[in-house]
C-alpha cells in the first residue's frame, strides 16, 4: 500500500473520530453543553489527536528504522571483512530493489548475494505488511481508548492543550536539532577526513593543490584559503565600515525625517539583492573595470578580472547597508540626555558626535562590525565568481586568490566520491568556517547585549 494512502486513510479515520467524539460528548450530557467540562470541540479534537498523532508517529518511526534494522539483520548473516560485507550488502540492496520493482533478480538465487537479495526483498515486504498492521492497530487503540474516555467530567481541553503545547515545544526543539545536525554533519565527516589525512598538514599547510585521487599526499593546506578569506574580508570592511558608519551617522544625527525615510530603504535595497547578483557584478563589471586601470594595459599589477580586490570591493558594497542599519539603530539608542549635555557645554554637533555619541556607541558599533566580518567570511557566491580559483599566499590584492567558502563549493559539487580526502576536506573547511563565524557571532552578541544593558 503506498504511503500517501496510509496517511490519507489515517486522516480520514481520525476525522471520523473527531465527529464521533464530539457527538458522544454531547450525548453524554443529553445535549446540555453547560454540563461538559470543555467545549464539545475539544472532545472531538482529543479523539483526533489520540488517533492520528500516535499512529502517524509510529509510521514515521517505522519508516526510518526499517532499512537499518533489515540491513543489520542481513549483514549479521554475512561472512568476511567489514569492508567486503558493506559492499555485499549494497549489492544485496540493489538486487532486492530490482526484485521488488520488476519481479526478477539480477543475481543468481543460489549465490550469497542472490539469496540475500531474495531474503532482503522478503523482509522488506513483510516489514511493510507488519507496519500497516501495527499502524492500524495503534490507530484503532487510540481511537477506542480516547472515545471511551469521553464523558461529561473528562477534561478534554486540558488534554488537548497539553498535546498542542507538546507540539509547540517540539517545534522549538527543531531549532536545536538543526544546530545539532550541523554539528554532527560537520564533526563526523571531519573526523573521517582526519583519519585519512594528517591534521597538521591541513591546519598548517601553505599549499592548496587538490588533485583527484591524490590521497594523503596531495597538499590540502588551510592557510592559503584562510588568508584569501581574511584578505577579502578586510578589504570589504575597509570599504563598508567608513561608508556605512558615516551614512548611519548622517541618517541618525543630521537627516530630516523625510530624507531618512527615502534614503534608508534605498540603501537597504543593496542588502536585499541576492549575492549571486553581486558575484556577476564583480566578475563582469567591476573586474574588467579594475583590469583596465591595474591590468597589463595600465599598471600591470593584475592578471585577470577575478582578484581579491574585485571581490573585496563588491563585498564592501554589499555590506554597506548591513553596517549602516546596525550602526543607525545603535546610535539612535544613545540617550538624548548625553547629546543635550554636550550641546549645553557649547560643543558643535560634530564635536558631540565624535566626542560623546560615538564613544558611547562604540561597543555596539564594534559588535556591528564583527557581525559584518562574520558575514564577509561566510559569503559564498560572490567569491565563487569574483575571487578566483587558485589558493595563494600573496600580499598583492590584485592577484586572484580563493576562499574557504569557494573551495567548499568546488570540492563538493559535481560527482563526488565521499571517501577521498579532496572531497572530505570540504567538511573540515566547513567546520573551520562554522567555528570562526560562530565565535564572531557569540562575541558580537555579547558585546551588543552588554551595551544594551548599559543604556536601558
Amino acid at each position: 500500500m503506498p504511503l500517501s494512502w496510509i496517511v490519507l486513510g489515517l486522516l480520514a479515520f481520525a476525522m471520523a473520530g473527531f465527529f464521533l467524539g464530539r457527538a458522544r460528548a454531547t450525548r453524554a450530557v443529553q445535549g446540555d453543553a453547560r454540563k461538559l467540562h470543555s467545549l464539545p470541540f475539544y472532545y472531538g479534537a482529543h479523539v483526533f489527536l489520540m488517533t492520528f498523532v500516535s499512529a502517524f508517529g509510529l509510521l514515521v518511526f517505522w519508516m526510518a528504522a526499517q532499512p537499518s534494522v533489515i540491513g543489520w539483520w542481513i549483514g549479521a548473516g554475512l561472512e568476511g571483512e567489514p569492508g567486503a560485507i558493506t559492499l555485499q550488502l549494497s549489492e544485496i540492496k540493489r538486487g532486492a530493489a530490482q526484485l521488488l520493482e520488476t519481479g526478477t533478480s539480477p543475481y543468481d538465487a543460489a549465490s550469497v548475494v542472490g539469496a540475500g537479495a531474495v531474503r532482503y526483498a522478503g523482509m522488506v515486504q513483510a516489514g511493510h505488511l507488519f507496519m500497516v498492521v501495527a499502524v492500524v492497530l495503534v490507530a484503532l487503540g487510540g481511537f477506542f481508548v480516547s472515545l471511551r474516555q469521553v464523558s461529561g467530567e473528562f477534561r478534554a481541553r486540558n488534554s488537548v492543550e497539553a498535546s498542542v503545547r507538546g507540539l509547540l515545544i517540539g517545534a522549538s526543539l527543531i531549532a536545536i536539532l538543526t544546530t545539532v545536525g550541523i554539528f554532527l554533519a560537520l564533526i563526523f565527516n571531519t573526523i573521517e577526513f582526519f583519519r585519512i589525512y594528517p591534521a597538521s598538514q591541513f591546519l598548517f599547510g601553505t599549499v592548496w593543490q587538490p588533485s583527484s585521487g591524490g590521497g594523503a599526499m596531495q597538499p590540502l593546506g588551510l592557510l592559503p584559503l584562510l588568508w584569501g578569506t581574511l584578505f577579502i574580508s578586510a578589504i570589504a570592511l575597509a570599504v563598508a565600515v567608513p561608508i556605512g558608519l558615516f551614512a548611519a551617522i548622517y541618517l541618525a544625527e543630521y537627516a530630516t525625517p523625510r530624507f531618512r525615510n527615502t534614503v534608508k530603504p534605498l540603501l537597504e535595497v543593496l542588502a536585499g539583492i541576492p549575492s549571486i547578483v553581486y558575484g556577476l557584478f564583480a566578475l563582469l563589471t567591476v573586474g574588467p573595470m579594475l583590469l583596465k586601470v591595474f591590468g597589463s594595459g595600465g599598471l600591470g599589477w593584475m592578471q585577470g578580472a577575478s582578484s581579491v580586490m574585485t571581490a573585496g570591493l563588491v563585498m564592501g558594497i554589499m555590506l554597506i547597508p548591513f553596517v549602516s542599519s546596525l550602526s543607525d539603530d545603535i546610535i539612535n539608542a544613545v540617550p538624548q540626555a548625553l547629546r543635550d549635555g554636550s550641546y549645553g557645554l557649547g560643543a558643535t554637533r560634530s564635536e558631540t558626535i565624535r566626542q560623546v555619541v560615538l564613544p558611547a556607541a562604540l561597543p555596539g558599533i564594534v559588535g556591528a562590525i564583527i557581525l559584518a566580518a562574520s558575514r564577509a567570511i561566510g559569503e559564498t557566491m560572490l567569491v565563487v565568481f569574483g575571487a578566483g580559483a587558485a589558493g595563494r599566499l600573496s600580499a598583492n590584492p590584485f592577484e586572484a586568490m580563493t576562499t574557504v567558502t569557494a573551495k567548499i563549493v568546488s570540492q563538493l559539487t559535481g560527482d563526488s566520491d565521499f571517501t577521498q580526502p579532496e572531497v572530505l576536506v570540504a567538511y573540515a573547511l566547513g567546520t573551520t568556517l562554522f567555528l570562526v563565524t560562530l565565535g564572531l557571532n557569540l562575541l558580537a552578541q555579547k558585546i551588543v547585549a552588554k551595551y544594551r544593558e548599559q543604556y536601558t
Partner: protein
C-alpha cells in the same frame, strides 16, 4: 590657549570658531558623501543589470518562405542525424530568399549560411514538419532563431573587430546580415522562450529559458511555506508566550539567534549530510535525492527558520498585554487566548516576516550548489510528485550555471535571469510592504 583672548562680540566669529564650524560642515559632507556613494553603487548595479540583461528578452529571428518537400522530409527522417537534413532545408530557404531579393553576398553556397542559423532551429523545424502532415508540401512563412553570433551582432555584443579570430562567423556574414536586416528578413523580436523555456545545451544559448528553473523555485517556495512556516510560528508561540524563563529556553534563544547568522553554505553542507546522505542514503527515503526541489526546499527551510521565528516573535510581542488579559478575564485558557486572540492579531506581522524570509530564500544559491541543483535539466514535469522530486534547478542556480559557461551570449542570459529574479523579489517585497501598510495596527 596662548595669550589673553581679546574681548569681542560673541556675534563675530573668531578664528577658532571658524575652524570649528568648518570642521562641522566637513563632517556633514563626509556623511552626505557616504550616502551618495551608497546610492551611486546602487544606481550602477541596477543599471548594469538592466543594460546587460534586457537584451536576453529579445531574440533575432529569420523569417523566410519555406516549402517542406515531403520527399526531403522522408529522406531526412531516414538518415542517422535526422536534424542534418532539416538544417539543409533551412539553409536552402534562406539562400533562395537572398537570391530572390537580389542581395549581393560573398558567400558561395547555402552551406555557408550555416553559421547564421541557430543550432536548435533544425530540431524545431523537424517538430513543425512532423506535427501536422498539412505543414508539408505547401509554402509557409517560417520563422526560426538566428545563431547567437548573429543575435549578438545586432545587439552590439559581437563586433566585426572583435570577431576577427572567431571561427564561428566571418565578415561576409556580417555584410549579409546588414543587407537582410534592411529588407526585413532578419529582425529582433520579443523572446518568450526566455521566460517559458528550459536550459539548452552549450551551443544554443538562443533557445534557453528560465521557465524550468522558475518551476523549481516555485516548488522550493511551497516546501519552505509548508515546512518552515508552521514550525517557526509554533516555535515562536512557545518561546514568546509559554516558555518559562530558564536556562533551557535561554539556550534555545541563543541557538536561534546564532542560526540566523550561520553562513548559508553551512546549511548546504547540513542538507547534503542530513537529507541526501542520511535520509536518502541510510534511511532509503526515495523522495530525498540529489537535485530534488524537495531537498532544496528543506535546506532553505532550515535556513529561513530563524528569520521567521524572530519576525513572528516580534509580531506577537507587539500585541498588547491587555488583549491577553481580556481573554483570560472572560475565562479563556492561556492557549485559547493565544490561539484565538493574539495570533490572529499578529498575523499581518507574521505574514510580512514570512514573505521577506521567502524572498531571501528565493535568492539563495550556495546551499543549492551543494545538493546538486546545478545540473543541466530538461525534465518533463508530469505529476505533483515530479514537481517536488524530479531533478530541477532554482532560478539563482540557473543563473550560476549560465554564468559558469563563460561566454558573452550566456552572460547575457545570466543577467536576464537576474532581471526575472529581481522582478520576483521586488514583487514579494512589495506585497510585504503592502500588507504592513494595510493591516498594521498601532496599539
Amino acid at each position: 590657549m596662548s595669550g589673553v583672548p581679546q574681548k569681542r562680540s560673541l556675534l563675530v566669529a573668531d578664528s577658532q570658531l571658524t575652524k570649528r564650524n568648518a570642521a562641522e560642515s566637513r563632517f556633514k559632507i563626509y556623511g552626505l558623501a557616504a550616502i551618495g556613494a551608497g546610492l551611486f553603487f546602487l544606481v550602477v548595479l541596477l543599471s548594469q543589470i538592466v543594460m546587460n540583461g534586457a537584451p536576453a528578452f529579445f531574440q533575432t529571428q529569420i523569417t523566410v518562405p519555406l516549402t517542406l518537400d515531403p520527399a526531403a522530409v522522408a529522406k531526412a527522417e531516414k538518415s542517422m542525424m535526422k536534424t542534418a537534413g532539416y538544417r539543409g532545408m533551412l539553409e536552402e530557404a534562406l539562400w533562395n530568399e537572398v537570391e530572390r531579393g537580389g542581395i549581393e553576398t560573398q558567400l558561395k553556397s547555402p552551406k555557408e549560411l550555416r553559421e547564421m542559423i541557430s543550432a536548435g532551429a533544425p530540431g524545431n523545424l523537424r517538430e513543425f514538419a512532423l506535427a501536422d502532415e498539412g505543414n508539408q508540401g505547401t509554402e509557409v512563412r517560417y520563422t526560426f532563431a538566428a545563431s547567437s553570433r548573429v543575435d549578438g551582432y545586432l545587439k552590439g555584443r559581437v563586433t566585426r573587430e572583435g570577431s576577427k579570430d572567431d571561427k564561428g562567423i566571418r565578415p561576409e556574414h556580417f555584410d549579409l546580415i546588414d543587407a537582410l536586416v534592411a529588407v526585413g528578413v532578419v529582425e529582433t523580436r520579443f523572446n518568450l522562450t526566455f521566460i517559458t523555456g528550459s536550459d539548452a545545451s552549450d551551443v544554443r544559448p538562443e533557445q534557453s529559458g528560465m521557465g524550468q528553473s522558475m518551476l523549481g523555485s516555485l516548488a522550493m517556495m511551497f516546501v519552505v511555506l509548508g515546512v518552515c512556516l508552521p514550525i517557526s510560528v509554533a516555535a515562536a508561540i512557545y518561546l514568546e508566550e509559554f516558555a518559562p524563563k530558564n536556562r533551557f529556553t535561554d539556550f534555545i534563544e541563543i541557538n536561534i539567534s546564532n542560526l540566523a547568522a550561520v553562513p548559508s553554505i553551512v546549511f548546504g553542507i547540513l542538507a547534503l549530510a542530513a537529507f541526501i546522505q542520511f535520509g536518502g542514503g541510510k534511511l532509503e527515503i526515495e523522495a530525498l535525492r540529489a537535485s530534488a526541489p524537495l531537498v532544496g526546499g528543506l535546506a532553505l527551510s532550515l535556513m529561513t527558520l530563524p528569520t521567521i521565528i524572530i519576525a513572528t516573535r516580534a509580531a506577537l510581542k507587539a500585541v498588547p498585554l491587555s488583549i491577553r488579559e481580556a481573554a483570560l478575564g472572560v475565562g479563556a485558557s492561556r492557549m485559547q487566548s493565544v490561539l484565538h486572540h493574539v495570533l490572529p492579531l499578529a498575523m499581518p506581522g507574521i505574514l510580512t516576516g514570512t514573505i521577506i524570509g521567502l524572498a531571501a530564500a528565493l535568492g539563495e544559491t550556495a546551499p543549492l550548489l551543494l545538493i546538486g541543483m546545478v545540473a543541466f535539466v530538461q525534465t518533463d514535469i508530469a505529476s505533483i510528485g515530479d514537481f517536488f522530486t524530479a531533478p530541477n534547478v532554482g532560478m539563482p542556480a540557473q543563473i550560476y550555471i549560465w554564468a559558469q559557461r563563460a561566454d558573452g551570449a550566456w552572460y547575457e542570459r545570466a543577467w536576464g535571469g537576474i532581471i526575472l529574479l529581481l522582478v520576483f523579489l521586488v514583487a514579494m517585497n512589495a506585497i510585504a510592504i503592502f500588507l504592513r501598510r494595510r493591516f498594521e495596527r498601532r496599539w
